[in-house]
């Protein structure tokens, strides 16, 4: 930071303290904001990177995204350590294991770095955490979709990426609760299935489920490849018309099976939009602005967010079915 910048920053801070009257888009202060995702290179986070890039283009901020080569909490911790040493202004993070990251995020906060989490509503050491939606509500919504597809009756099974993955378990637990509450004619068979986020495993387990439970009528997936693996297994068994698959995924992954009708609906939130909002929140925090309940972030689903503690929650889930598949390009 040059002296000139510093002077400007002080001036800016004074201006903000003075009531934040006239901060224009033409600000020259550039922040370095780095988004740390669970793993680099996969479809979901590639889409997220588009949001980061868009934000950088729109605002002129130095926003970038990094991720480890495999989805391991240990590697993510290492990256955050390095970012702290690199003295970035803000770190936004999608943690593999939120609990494992608390100490390193605390260190970031202690080093006066703004931390914004995503998919980590129980994170403590963050300036803010942005959730596309309430996980329990999303889980219930997935169940509603599944129930609709199954005609509100019959056997179903659920997948999580890892038994140790927090959000997946939250969705699935909420979904099961919803079913017990609202759809008494439906019945969960077997435990939560673990797909290890591997499409091949989802396929194998689905085949097994079909053997063990011939009357299976529905499957709900959590990891983005779960539904594709499950749908392929269902189609291979010639049961496309009997077994209904719903879950969280992306149109680019589930597309072929939505077209063929095995996957009735997928729900997701647009990672690009989430990233955009996350970065926006980071900049606000850097500028000393406060997020308020009901604020509008100008992105679809985040027009009227709720703020509870430091958790910002939108209503950003999107359903994708045969009808609107063509409107998505990611």
């Amino acid at each position: 930071m040059t002296i000139k910048h510093k002077v400007f920053a002080v001036g800016l801070a004074l201006a903000l303290a003075g009531g934040g009257a006239a901060v224009t888009q033409a600000q020259t202060k550039k922040y370095t904001i780095t988004t740390v995702v669970k793993i680099a290179g996969v479809a979901w986070f590639n889409r997220m990177e588009q949001g980061v890039a868009l934000f950088a283009k729109d605002t002129g901020q130095n926003a970038t995204q990094v991720g480890p080569a495999s989805a391991d909490a240990a590697l993510q911790n290492q990256i955050v350590e390095d970012l702290i040493a690199k003295k970035v202004d803000a770190i936004t993070v999608v943690p593999n294991s939120p609990e494992s990251m608390e100490p390193v995020l605390k260190k970031a906060l202690d080093s006066k770095i703004v931390v914004v989490g995503h998919e980590g509503s129980n994170l403590e050491n963050v300036t803010y955490d942005v959730e596309a939606f309430d996980n329990a509500a999303f889980g219930a919504h997935l169940m509603d979709n599944l129930a609709k597809a199954m005609g509100e009756e019959g056997e179903y099974a659920v997948f999580v990426g890892h038994l140790t993955a927090k959000t997946h378990n939250q969705w699935v637990d909420a979904a099961i609760a919803r079913q017990k509450d609202k759809y008494p004619k439906m019945k969960l068979v077997a435990d939560k299935q673990e797909s290890l986020e591997d499409q091949q495993v989802a396929y194998t387990k689905t085949k097994e489920l079909l053997q063990a439970h011939p009357n299976l009528k529905g499957i709900q997936g959590s990891a983005s490849t779960d539904v594709a693996g499950a749908a392929l297994a269902v189609e291979d068994a010639g049961l496309g018309s009997q077994v209904n698959v719903v879950g969280t995924s992306l149109p680019s992954i589930a597309g072929p099976y939505i077209t063929s009708g095995t996957i009735k609906a997928i729900s997701f939130w647009d990672p690009a939009k989430a990233a955009y909002v996350v970065d926006k929140v980071a900049v606000m925090a850097l500028e000393g602005k406060k997020v308020e309940d009901g604020m509008n972030f100008g992105q679809e689903g985040y027009e009227k967010v709720t703020l509870k503690g430091h958790v910002i929650t939108g209503q950003a889930w999107v359903d994708c079915t045969k009808d609107n598949l063509s409107t998505f390009n990611f």
Binding site: G41, Q193, K205, E208
Partner: protein, 347 residues
């Protein structure tokens, strides 16, 4: 004949077969569905990619080496081949697509072979390094993007069943054509290993590299050839994986290498080299696949599955070793019972 039978019964693959049958009986008692035709067909389908990889691993183990890089080669071939087709927009026949994947595998295997054959580096070190290297190169230079829609030829191929029948319930049971790849590779390997001098040289190397060199086997060249062959097999496994899953995901396959090696060792190949058969390997693959994909069926709770798989691997590894020790003991007693050498009248 009786001798042959008893040898078969005490051979590693015989033991594994028995173990597999015992497990199958236990599983089918736990859930009779286990022995149903659809489940068996599913089992065979799930064994395809592991099986093709395993044949490659067998060849390396027989030669006295070890390979952990084959999954990275498979992933490289699966992704590079698909991306090439998609980006270039060409539509070659399926046979040519497999050929591309095999060629990529052979090329990567050549790298292994150079380091191992020509420089004489230990196989574990080299393949551990190239596992990291190939995967890094794939994800850095070729790409990371997930292809959910693969070329039409591959989809068409993946829809062709080798065997299909309908059940009363409306269920279709089908074994994909790709199972043929497994059968072909297994047959090819059996032929190479059993009926060509190259194959016998592989075992000779695994038995004693020194003795092999003494009788004029070009050890370096044989090793180079082995790793190119195994690379090609891994490449085929990669492309086969694409057609089975109808996706091209560069993150697939890597991570399963130890599981495949375990399958081959269960099938009677020794980690110290020189031993192992194609039939034993197939049995090992089927048993591992059975263990991995029947836990749900027999009602092992999800939370216990990793523990149970680990325990079964230990069991499957320990058993052949115990049996070998028993065999040695028996051989000593047999040697005592009567000499195997009898000298007749001189010429």
């Amino acid at each position: 004949m009786r001798r042959l039978l008893s040898r078969l019964a005490t051979s590693p693959q015989g033991i594994m077969l028995a173990t597999g049958i015992v497990l199958a009986v236990l599983f089918s008692v736990a859930n009779p569905v286990f022995l149903s035709a659809p489940n068996i067909v599913d089992l065979l389908r799930n064994a395809i990619v592991t099986g093709i990889f395993a044949i490659g691993v067998l060849i390396v183990l027989a030669s006295g080496g070890i390979d952990v890089s084959f999954t990275a080669i498979g992933a490289f071939a699966l992704y590079a081949t698909t991306k090439l087709l998609i980006v270039s927009g060409i539509h070659p026949p399926m046979l040519a697509i497999f050929a591309i994947g095999i060629a990529i595998g052979v090329a990567l295997g050549f790298v292994n072979g150079l380091l191992i054959g020509l420089l004489g580096l230990p196989t574990l070190i080299v393949t551990l390094a190239t596992l990291s290297l190939f995967r890094g190169a794939l994800l850095t230079f070729v790409g990371t993007l997930y292809y959910g829609t693969i070329p039409a030829e591959m989809v068409a191929y993946s829809r062709q069943p080798l065997l299909a029948f309908h059940l009363a319930s409306g269920r279709v049971v089908q074994l994909p054509l790709a199972f043929g790849n497994f059968v072909l590779v297994a047959g090819f390997a059996a032929l190479i290993l059993g009926s060509t001098m190259f194959g016998r040289k592989i075992y000779a190397l695994g038995g004693s590299e020194e003795a092999a060199a003494r009788i004029g086997i070009d050890v370096r060249r044989v090793k180079l050839a082995i790793f190119m062959l195994v690379g090609g097999i891994a490449g085929l496994a990669g492309v086969t994986h694409v057609t089975l899953m109808r996706i091209a995901n560069p993150f697939d396959l890597v991570g399963s290498e130890l599981n495949v090696i375990a399958a081959v060792v269960l099938g009677g190949a020794r980690i110290t080299g020189g031993h192992g058969t194609v039939s034993g390997t197939i049995i090992g693959v089927l048993v591992i696949t059975m263990i991995n994909s029947s836990l749900l069926l027999i009602g092992v709770p999800t939370y216990w599955q990793r523990l149970v798989v680990g325990g079964l691997i230990l069991f499957g590894t320990g058993l052949p070793i115990a049996i070998e020790r028993f065999n040695l003991h028996r051989a000593r007693l047999r040697a005592a019972a009567g000499p195997t050498v009898t000298v007749q009248a001189p010429v």
